[in-house]
């Protein structure tokens, strides 16, 4: 039996579609009426950063686990499907963190905790290290996911103002995000049209040439498009100064929730020392 050869065209099309699918999912969730969706983006941004820092500073497993539970509770009250939210984080973890943790269970020197067949011994220190990594990474990823799922991207960008990020950079980020979708669609169309013309199997060399020509076309089109976009902006009066509407207004519930989450972060930092 022959081994199935990698089909690069399908591979790329699948990756592009999953990126588009993920963003549609995020947009759908962020439009739902939920707790976090109703809060000011600046509050969410600051609290997410504070909790991230707390989780990464903490030297205490229980504190990290507690923060993870709070994150789950927040996700539920924001009408994010709980199973989906948990699976999204834990399904992706084994690929990166799992590969890292499993050898560490045996390789980290320390007192033995449990013996497995084949002479493998799980050490206590290995277990602690593995748990730290697993909890810290999963909580961090969940926190980021929570922010992204409950806040439209443009609002996240405007929230960056409070971090004194220069306007031009925020404008660039916003434009990048917009054009990512255009370029993703262009790339998707290129690969789909190519795939629909392919009969039989492509050799490695042919596949490389297709990818490279697609990359070249995409690069040329991006550069041309940047000139066109610039001219379009210029013809509408843009001369390097960015004006943004600041529609944020802090309300009572923003202060309350912001205060709550910030005190939670501070408590986590103090207890986690």
């Amino acid at each position: 039996m022959k081994l199935k050869k990698h089909n690069v065209l399908e591979h790329v099309i699948r990756d592009i579609s999953s990126a588009l699918e993920r963003s549609i999912f995020a947009e759908k969730i962020s439009a739902r009426p939920g707790l976090l969706q109703s809060l000011d983006a600046r509050v969410k941004f600051v609290c997410t950063m504070a909790l991230l820092i707390a989780v990464n500073l903490s030297h205490n497993l229980i504190v990290i686990a507690a923060v993870y539970l709070v994150v789950l509770a927040l996700a539920c009250s924001s009408r994010i499907p709980a199973v989906d939210f948990i699976l999204r984080v834990w399904l992706f973890l084994p690929f990166f963190t799992g590969v890292l943790i499993i050898p560490a269970l045996f390789l980290t020197p320390g007192p033995p905790l449990a013996s497995l067949p084949l002479g493998l011994v799980v050490t206590r220190t290995g277990m602690t290290t593995g748990l730290f990594l697993l909890l810290r990474v999963s909580t961090s990823v969940s926190l980021t996911l929570l922010l992204v799922l409950t806040t439209p991207w443009n609002t996240v960008l405007r929230a960056l103002h409070i971090m004194r990020v220069p306007d031009v950079f925020i404008l660039t980020l916003g434009m990048t995000y917009r054009y990512i979708y255009l370029l993703l669609r262009i790339a998707n169309d290129m690969f789909l049209s190519r795939k629909s013309r392919v009969v039989g199997r492509l050799s490695g060399v042919e596949q490389r040439h297709i990818i490279a020509s697609a990359g070249t076309t995409l690069l040329s089109r991006s550069l041309n498009m940047s000139s066109e976009v610039y001219l379009a902006m210029k013809s509408r009066g843009f001369h390097g100064h960015v004006v943004t509407l600041n529609l944020f207004k802090m309300q009572k519930r923003d202060w309350i929730w912001g205060g709550l989450l910030l005190s939670l972060s501070v408590a986590a930092i103090i207890l986690g020392r």
């Binding site: 690069v8 592009i16 030297h59 961090s140 992204v148 054009y179 490279a212 390097g240 020392r273």
Partner: protein, 338 residues
């Protein structure tokens, strides 16, 4: 190579942000100076391009496929400053929106992928391309070696960042709090697969795209490194500055990582404070003494301090990789006009 949050200690993360900041600052300043209003759409489109190209799988001879970063390609076409900004923008969006790589780890990820890769790739490419005609095979060789070296070095730096964690951050019972493997494991684990697969894929894509561009759009390659004619240093001047900067960086990075580590340790438990306070002056004293020592002085077990040994081996590693890359470039470009 996208490092998620949780693998690196906050002290390392802060240090990595500090390392990237000057590159962001000069990158944005130069683009603003030379391009002004044009810079926003240009960077946006290029960042979008690098985001999309990160999804491209390229089959490499041997039957496997690998994702590319496009950072080497961007550096060859745009020059390292613009590439740093474009790739960083793409990484920021990936971290926030797609959860690829941590938010706190952005400094480290941008340093590895948006600074190391473009700086090395473009310096090596330019060294080869120096005054050669646009269809010279030397340009392709330079692009390939540049891309390969850039990604391999980025993996090396990621391994260095991982490997330094268990030395500096342990709980009182000795279990590592962040990435658990020492440098002797983390560096080979990062460098070997990248050198064999990801760097090869990056080199392939870069070479193929440049080969296509030579035929389809030679004007773009002619003006390579100068989007909107960015004023720049002379080629060799730039090359030399880069190497000096890298050597300084290589010398400083382990020390820099050690210093904030102890500060955080001091802030934590007493035990760490004792360890840290003792290690610093000793470490600096030994490191400064090492430079004058003959090669046998690098005999690491003889130093008696395993932490110091690890850090030293990291330092020697950076130097060896840099010198090999430099020598190789030197040999390959012998005969080209300065």
């Amino acid at each position: 190579m996208h490092i998620p949050d949780g693998y690196l200690s906050p002290a390392t993360l802060v240090f990595m942000f500090l390392l990237v900041l000057p590159f962001w600052f000069t990158g944005i300043r130069r683009l603003r100076q030379t391009l002004n209003a044009r810079s926003a759409p240009l960077i946006a489109l290029l960042a979008a391009f690098s985001f999309v190209i990160m999804m491209f799988n390229i089959p490499i001879p041997g039957g496997t496929t690998a994702h590319v970063t496009g950072a080497a390609l961007a550096a060859v076409i745009l020059g390292p400053e613009a590439a740093t900004i474009a790739i960083s923008t793409a990484l920021i969006i990936q971290a926030f929106f797609f959860g690829d790589g941590g938010i706190l780890a952005l400094g480290a990820n941008c340093f590895n992928m948006a600074v190391i890769v473009p700086q090395f790739s473009s310096a090596i490419y330019r060294r080869f391309a120096n005054n050669t005609p646009i269809d010279s095979p030397k340009r392709l060789t330079g692009a390939a070696i540049g891309a390969w070296t850039g990604i391999t070095l980025a993996a090396f730096f990621a391994g260095l960042e991982f490997g330094i964690q268990p030395l500096l951050f342990k709980s009182p019972d000795g279990s590592p709090l962040y990435a658990p493997y020492p440098l002797s494991v983390s560096i080979p684990a990062m460098v070997i697969p990248h050198a064999l697969i990801a760097s090869v894929a990056e080199a392939l894509l870069t070479v193929l795209v440049i080969a296509y561009l030579r035929r389809s759009n030679p004007a773009m390659l002619e003006s390579a490194g100068k989007p909107g004619n960015i004023g720049e240093l002379s080629e060799t001047g730039k090359f030399r500055t880069l190497w000096v900067a890298m050597l300084v960086l290589a010398a400083v990075s382990p020390l820099g990582l050690l210093a904030p580590g102890t500060a955080w340790g001091e802030w934590g438990t007493d035990e760490l404070a004792k360890m840290g306070l003792k290690a610093i002056p000793e470490g600096i004293a030994r490191l400064s003494g090492i430079w004058g020592a003959p090669l046998q002085g690098y005999n690491l077990p003889a130093l008696g301090n395993s932490n110091l040994g690890y850090i030293l081996s990291a330092l020697v590693g950076v130097l060896v990789v840099s010198v090999v890359a430099w020598l190789f470039t030197r040999i390959m470009t012998i005969g080209s006009k300065p």
